[in-house]
Amino acid sequence: MSTPQPQTHQQAAPAPNWQSAPGTSYTSPIPITRTHLGHALTSEWTKIKSVRSTMWTLGVFLLLVVGIGLLVAANTDSNDYADVPYTIPAFFGLILGQICLITLGVLVVSSEYGTGMIRTTFTASPQRHRVLTAKLLIFFVVAFVVSAFAIGFVGLITSGMHGGASDNKWGGTVLMGALYVSLLGVLALAVGSMLRHSAGAITAMLGLVLVPAILPAFLMMSESLRTLGEKMTEYNAPNALAKIFELDSENGGGGSQLVLLVGVTAAAIAGAYALLERRDV
């Protein structure tokens, strides 16, 4: 068995065109592209639309929001909308539907860890932060568009059915509501990236959404924990949505709840980026 002598002479030319470096005699006919975020975005777009879990979670989400919304709209009459926006029927579906977006958010990243795809992904894109950025952006846009469509659709149908009862503006509730549930999904994505485990991350997110909605009932029994319980009641996810849809129009439209979610999501994203660069895959 003969061993061919490797060509060890180094490239002397100052040109950075390493493609023709004599040390590596093979030259590919494929044009060289410097990769950037745009490539990662198209790649993540292909990924998110080519798996069935996306279709399932978004399909169930639409079914819940639009289905329950239309049911509520059909069982209300025009007088019910005197003080509330026409999008309010979508609220009931969103309470359940947000779980779908949380699930999808988690799966977008944790399914890659579960299947081992993440090693292939990071081999193709060693700039890990770019991959996470692309995932966050693509998921946010998809979730926002789908939920804004669902809420807006319910609002349109409802105003068509019960039109004329009020002239309240409901456009803002579409954007705020869509933003809130999409951010919950983004938070789920960041948590999924940190925990790397689908079931664990979904459970953690459900806890985050449900526990503050249930726990206050118990906290209220103790005098010392009453303030904590009141804060939880005010800021838990279902109540935030209720505020956004002006279910009780006493306080503001859920602005402070949205700010809190933005803060929590930003912190989780920061944590996800920090861990992403440090850990082995």
Binding site: Q7, T8, R34, H39, A124
Partner: protein, 333 residues
């Protein structure tokens, strides 16, 4: 060209990879050999920037992997045949990889054709057999038409036809001037494909040599003798100071002497020989000898289990193990 310098990976107390230094050169197939748990996969993951080294450095044509702007056209890697989302079709799996590196869509069809998966391009990857998964993984590695290819145990679990295909593929890739780096725990497999060998055990470098040199240095050559006058022959050889090993089936083995010398000696004493043949121990045996001290998961003979390791036929004062005594401080631990 891949340069690995002082690469070290520690998991808690355990040194998975210990001060590994070697280079993988273009135009040849470099075999990366070691027993199970020797640190081959960990080393490959560190080369690809997936695992962070505790110490040391890997450079791909002088650059760190995560500094590569177009990684897929630089290195194509197959680490694990199942490192893909099972719910995605073969085509979409390759497409999202291609898009992440700005590789044109047409190239996806080309590599699917190369590995022979065009017919199942629209099928979900989870329905694929191990061999098909391996082919899809290789298609992903070839996607960027890279100058460096890295395969981790590519023939594991494949049928003979698949093994044959991968062997030829690796050889043709190297013949095109590419750097091919392939790991295996099977010496026999390496003997058929690799031109150069990097052998590790317990995370340490045991050998970095050409295949031909490895065979020459590590395989035990001996002379096998059969004679009807066995006792007389033993006596003659003993008096000549030649150490003889008797093995169970009535043949004698002599180390370190040419068959000519033994034949002449026998002729002087008019001893009839039925066989006098030079023998070479198998490469597998040479590899086992080299890594014997560093095999992580021994089947111990002193355990009361029925499964004792197969006895080595040449277990006698053969050629001393080359290089430093790498097993020494392992024993201390």
């Amino acid at each position: 060209m891949i340069e690995v310098a002082g690469l070290t990976k520690r998991y808690g107390e355990k040194m998975a990879v210990n001060q590994l230094t070697f280079a993988v050169r273009p135009g040849i197939v470099t075999g990366f050999l070691g027993p199970n748990g020797a640190g081959k996969s960990t080393t490959m993951r560190m080369m690809l920037g997936l695992d962070r080294p505790t110490a040391g450095d890997v450079r791909i044509d002088g650059q760190h992997y995560d500094r590569l702007k177009d990684p897929l056209t630089y290195i194509g890697a197959l680490l694990d045949a199942k490192a893909m989302h099972g719910g995605r079709s073969a085509f979409n799996h390759l497409l999202c990889l291609a898009q992440s590196n700005g590789i044109p869509r047409s190239r996806v069809h080309e590599v699917l054709d190369t590995v022979g998966l065009t017919a199942v391009a629209k099928k979900k990857a989870k329905g694929f057999s191990l061999g098909m998964g391996q082919r899809l993984g290789i298609a992903g590695a070839l996607l960027g038409d890279p100058r460096i290819l890295m395969f981790d145990e590519p023939v594991n679990g494949l049928d003979p036809e698949g093994i044959h295909w991968i062997r030829n593929l690796m050889k043709s890739l190297a013949a095109q001037g590419r750097t091919v780096f392939v790991s295996s725990h099977l010496m026999s497999e390496m003997a058929l494909t690799a031109d150069h060998l990097v052998v590790i055990g317990q995370g340490r470098l045991l050998a970095d040599t050409s295949m031909a040199d490895f065979i020459r240095e590590n395989s035990r050559s001996y002379v096998r003798i059969r004679s009807p006058q066995r006792e007389l022959l033993l006596d003659v050889l003993h008096r000549a100071g030649i150490i003889v090993v008797e093995n169970g089936v009535g043949t004698l083995e002599v180390d370190g002497h040419r068959p000519e010398d033994i034949g002449e000696l026998a002729a002087q004493h008019r001893i009839v020989l039925h066989e006098l043949s030079p023998q070479q121990a198998s490469l597998e045996e040479a590899f086992m000898q080299l890594t014997a001290e560093s095999v992580e998961y021994h089947a111990h003979t002193d355990t009361p289990l029925g499964a004792a390791p197969p006895p080595l036929p040449g277990e006698q004062p053969g050629p001393p193990a080359p290089g430093p005594q790498w097993g020494d401080d392992w024993k201390k631990g």
